[in-house]
Symmetry: C3
Subunit: 411 residues, 3 copies
C-alpha cells in the first residue's frame, strides 16, 4: 500500500558537540508503509520530540485515513505528560508514555473502552506519592483504560520482607525512557521501554509494543519483560483494563472459559452466584472481586468478554494463559467518585500483597538476562454477530469442562 504522508515535528536532540532544535512540517510523496519509523524519545541520546504528527495524507484517495500525533500536556497535574494518539482509521486510542505506556481511552464507533474516574487529568507521576494514604497514592492518578501494574511487585499495599509495598507497584508511574512509532506490515506501532532500576535491588526492563492494523477494530500488546540484573528477579504483572459505560451497564455480562472461580474476600462471597452479571450503579456497593483460573484452547490462548446488556456491543481480550495464568474480575459498580467500573485483569497472579502471593506460589522469578513475553489482544465487538461469535469461541474453549466454584476465599 502506498500513501502520502504528512509529517510535522519539533525536535529536541542533543549530543556532546551540538544542540539541534528543529520544527518540521513535511508532506512527502507516497511511500511504502514499512519505511516509516520515528524515535520520539530516547534518553540515551537525549532525543525528545515535543510535537510530532504523521498521517496518511488521505482524503483525496480511497485509502484509510490513519494518523499518529504526539504532543505534551500542559497545566495542572498533567503538566509535562507526553501522549501519543493513534488513529487507525477505524479506532483511536491514546498512549501515555509518561505514565508507563498506559493507554488512556480507546474509541471505536460508539464504543469507548475506558471509564469515568473522578480524576480527569492524566496525572504526571511526579504528583503521585505512592506511599500516601497508607500506600494507596497510586489512586491519585487512576483513570486509564489500560493501567499497568508491576513489575517488581503489584497488588495491595502492605509490608513484605520488612519493606512497605505500595498499591500496584511502580509501573504506571515510570516514564518511558525510549518511545518509537512506526508502521510495518500495515500495522501502526507505538513501542516504549520502561525501566524499573535501582542500584543493588532491581534491573527490569519492560518493552511494550502496542500495535493496531490499519482499519481494524483491534489492538495488540506485545510486551517483553527482561531481567537485566545478575540475579533471579521476582516479578508481578497485572493488565488492569477498566470498563465503564457504555459496555458496563445493568445486565452486562462477563464470559470466560473458567476452570475455577474463588471469591477474593468475604464481601465477594455474598454475590458469588451473580459473579458473571453486572448491576446498575449502586450507591454503597463498594467492590466484589473474583479470582479465576481460565481454560485455554489448543493454541494455549484464552478469551474473555464483557458484553453489554443486549449483547450488541462488547470487548474481547485474548492472551496466553501460560504467561498470564491468573485472572481477576474486579466489579466496582458503585457511583460517583467511588466509580462505576469493572476491571478485567489478566495477571501473573492475583492482587493480594506480594507476601501473600509468594506464600501461595504465584510469585515467579526471571533468570538473569532472561525475558518473559506477554501478548494481549483486544477486540472491540461492534455488533451482535461479533458478540455471538466471541461467545461461541469462549464456549468452544470451555467445551464440556466444569467450572470449579470455591465458596470461600483462599487461605
Amino acid at each position: 500500500m502506498g500513501f502520502a504522508v504528512t509529517l510535522t515535528m519539533k525536535r529536541q536532540s542533543f549530543a556532546l558537540a551540538h544542540v539541534l532544535c528543529t520544527s518540521l512540517s513535511v508532506s512527502v510523496a507516497p511511500l511504502p508503509a514499512q519505511e516509516f519509523h520515528e524515535t520520539l524519545t530516547d534518553t540515551s541520546t537525549n532525543t525528545w520530540l515535543e510535537d510530532f504528527s504523521i498521517d496518511s495524507g488521505v482524503g483525496k484517495t480511497g485509502d484509510v485515513a490513519w494518523s499518529i500525533r504526539k504532543y505534551t500536556l500542559r497545566g495542572g497535574k498533567q503538566a509535562g505528560v507526553d501522549v501519543v494518539e493513534i488513529n487507525n482509521g477505524k479506532l483511536r486510542f491514546t498512549v501515555v508514555p509518561t505514565r508507563g505506556m498506559n493507554v488512556h481511552k480507546l474509541y471505536c464507533g460508539d464504543v469507548r473502552l475506558g471509564w469515568n474516574s473522578p480524576v480527569t487529568e492524566l496525572v504526571n507521576p511526579l504528583f503521585i506519592n505512592p506511599a500516601d494514604r497508607g500506600g494507596l497514592g497510586w489512586l491519585d492518578g487512576f483513570n486509564e483504560w489500560m493501567t499497568r501494574c508491576g513489575y517488581e511487585f503489584a497488588g495491595h499495599p502492605g509490608e513484605d520482607d520488612g519493606k512497605m509495598l505500595s498499591l500496584h507497584g511502580k509501573a504506571s508511574n515510570l516514564p518511558a525512557s525510549k518511545v518509537e512509532v512506526f508502521l510495518r506490515n500495515n500495522r501502526l506501532h507505538v513501542r516504549g521501554r520502561v525501566e524499573e532500576k535501582m542500584f543493588k535491588f532491581v534491573n527490569l526492563e519492560m518493552v511494550t509494543d502496542i500495535s493496531t492494523e490499519i482499519g481494524s477494530t483491534s489492538v495488540r500488546f506485545d510486551d517483553t519483560l527482561t531481567n537485566r540484573g545478575s540475579n533471579p528477579q521476582e516479578f508481578e504483572i497485572i493488565y488492569h483494563t477498566n470498563y465503564g459505560e457504555p459496555l458496563l451497564e445493568k445486565g452486562s455480562r462477563f464470559l470466560a472459559p473458567t476452570r475455577s472461580v474463588t471469591p477474593f474476600d468475604e464481601r465477594a462471597v455474598e454475590e458469588l452466584k451473580d459473579y458473571r452479571v453486572y448491576y446498575a450503579p449502586t450507591k454503597g456497593y463498594g467492590e466484589t472481586v473474583y479470582c479465576m483460573e481460565l481454560n485455554a484452547g489448543a493454541d494455549g490462548r484464552t478469551t474473555v468478554m464483557l458484553q453489554n446488556a443486549d449483547a450488541t456491543r462488547g470487548v474481547a481480550m485474548s492472551y496466553n494463559v501460560d504467561s498470564l495464568p491468573f485472572f481477576t474480575l474486579w466489579k466496582n459498580t458503585d457511583v460517583g467518585e467511588k466509580g462505576y467500573v469493572t476491571g478485567l485483569e489478566p495477571g501473573s497472579g492475583y492482587p493480594y500483597n506480594r507476601s501473600v502471593e509468594r506464600e501461595r506460589g504465584r510469585v515467579k522469578k526471571i533468570a538473569p538476562g532472561q525475558a518473559r513475553k506477554f501478548q494481549v489482544e483486544v477486540d472491540v465487538l461492534m455488533d451482535a454477530a461479533a458478540v455471538k461469535k466471541t461467545a461461541a469461541g469462549i464456549a468452544g474453549i470451555q467445551g464440556s469442562k466444569k467450572t470449579r466454584v470455591n465458596e470461600q476465599p483462599e487461605g
Copy 2:
C-alpha cells in the same frame, strides 16, 4: 470606563485535531472594561499560556495604570511555577496557581503583606514531600502571605482513622487545573479551580476568585468549595495569612471583637495576658497560639486587625463567621529561620489534628453536590485614620459584650 489595552501572550493550546502555538503582542483600541477575559490554563482543553500580559495602556491618559502579567518561574526549586501578578494601580500582589492559588506577597505603598521565610523560592509542589520530617514537609515551601490549608483535612500532622495526615493538607501543593483572568465592573479578577480528587476517597473542587477594584487598597477572596462526590464529605479550611515587617514589630497589636479566647497549649498559657500585643524578635521564643471565637455584626461579618506599633499602618480582614466560625492567632515572634511572623487565620476549625477537631465537633461535612462559600476581604490601612476607623468598627461589633478568657487549653 474605556481604556487602551496592551496584550501580549504566548499560547499553547491543543485539541485532538490540531496543535496551535502562538505568541501575540497586541495593542487594541479602547474597550469597555467588562469585555476582557482570558483563560490562562484549562487542563480540560489542554490550554496553557506560558506568558501573558495585559495592561491599561495608560500613561498618556489620566486613567489608573493597572496590569496583569503571567509568567513561569525557572530554575532551582521554583522551576515550572506559574505566577500571576496583579497591579490595580494602587496595590499589587502575586497569585501562584501552581501552589493552590496561594498569594505570595502584597505591596501597597510602604506596606507589605507577607513575611521573611528562610525559604525564598516559590517552591514547586513537586519538590514537597508532605510526609517528610514526620508530616511537616509542607514547611519546605512555606513562605507566602496567604497560604491555603485544607481541604480534606488541615491542621497538625498525625494519625486519624489509621492514616497519617500531613501538616495543613494538600491545598497549597495542588496546581490549579483552570486559571482565568478578567475584568468586570472595574474589578480585576484571577479565578482558579483546584481539584482535590482521588478515586474512592474524595472529589472536592475549590474555585477561588481573587479580585481587586482598580485603584483600591483592598483585595477579596470569594471562594467556593464544592463536593462533587456522591457521599457527604468532611472538610477543613484555614486561611493562613502571615505577616512580618513592617506591620509586625515590637508593640504591634491584634484587635478583634472576641467572644472567647483559649490558649492552644501550655506554652500559650504563659503569655495569655499579652495575647493581643507583640514582642520584638526574640531568640528562642518559639510560638504561642490562641484559639478564638469572634463576634459578628448584624450582617454576620466580623473584622480583625493587625496594626503597627504607632497605629499608622495596618491590615484588616473581614469575613462571615458562619462559614469561618473559628479564628486562630499564631504568634511566632522568633528570629532568623525560626521566623518573625504572625498568622491571622480564619478557619472552619482550629489547627489541631483532624482527629481532635472531629472529636470536638469542628469537622463539618458538605452534602453531595453541595458547596460552601467563603468570603474574605483584606484591606490595607495606609494611615492612622484608617487604623482608627477600623478599630472603631471592631469596637462597634464587640459593643458591651464580654470576652470569655479561658485560662487553660481545651481538653
Copy 3:
C-alpha cells in the same frame, strides 16, 4: 592569554516589569581570560539559560581548545535536568546542577572517573522519593562519579530524634538555586549554590566552586557550607566519589597515609587483611566498608590514591584533614546491578546513621552565620611515573608512623 570566544545562549530572564527571551550566537574578538562570567541560573532574579555554550574559538591557533556547554536533558526520568559540560582541553566532566552540583563522569585520555550503575539516566530529583524502600530511595538516582551526601544529615537511613532520616541526606536531590560559569586566572569554574532550607528547622547554604586549570589533569572542589540560621546547626558531609573500570579491576590498590583502620561491620572484618587490594567482580560479594583516620602532611593535607593493577593509571584525591577528619573506603566489587564500584569518601564522619555518629562525637555544629570550608583536589594520574610519584608522596606523609588496625567494628 588571549583567545577567540564563541558564545551561544538562549536566555530566559524575567523581572517584574519585563520579560526577556533571547537566543544568542556570538563570536567575539580575543579577550583576556578573566573577563568571561555568565550566570546560568539565579532564582532570585528568575534567570535561567536553557542553552549556553562558550569555547576558546581555537582550531586556527595553537591555544588549548576548551569549552563549556550547558543544556537541559529531556525525556524519561531525566526530563528537566540541567547539565554543564566542562572541557579544559585535556579532561572533561559533567556537572549536574539539578542534582545538587554532583559530577557525573570525568574523562581524561583513556581514564574515566565514574562507574556503571544500572541507573543510566541522570534522574531528576523529582522522581526520587528518599523515603522509599525504608529510606533507600536515594539509590534510585545513584550513578555519578562525585555524589554529594549531606548536609543536615548523611549516612544510613534510620530514626534519629524521633524522625526518619533517609540515606545520605538531601544534598544530591536539591537543585542549585544559582549557577555561574566563569574563567579566571586560566581556570574554568562552575559555581553553584544549593539551599537546604526549611522554616523552623534549617538554613544551610552550600556554595561549591568546581574548577580546573585549562589543559591540566586535575579538578578542584572549593566548597563553603554556611549556616544562615540563627542557631548552631548540626551538619554532616561526605564526598562520595565512586570508581569502576578502568581504574577498578582485579589487583587495583588503595593507598593512603593511614593512622587507623576499622571494619565498618562484621562483613568487613572477614577481609580486613586485604582491605587495600581489590578483587575481580565477584557475584554475591556485597560490600565491605572500612573506616579510617588519615595522617596529614605539614600543610594539613592528606592524599589518597586508587591505582590500577599494573600501576599505570590512577586517581589521587587530596584534602585537608581538619575539615574532613574521617575517611570511608567502600568496596563494592560485585556484579551487574549490584555494582562493581569502590567509593573513596572523605567526610566529616562515617556513614553510620546520624544518631550513631552523634553518640560517637562525630557530628559537629556550625555557629549561626559561620561557615566551614572544604577543599578536595582530584588528579588523574595518566602514567606509571605519576602513580609512583603520588605513592611516594603518600609514603612521605606516613613516614615511620604505624597504622593502628582495629580488628573489630566500633561500639
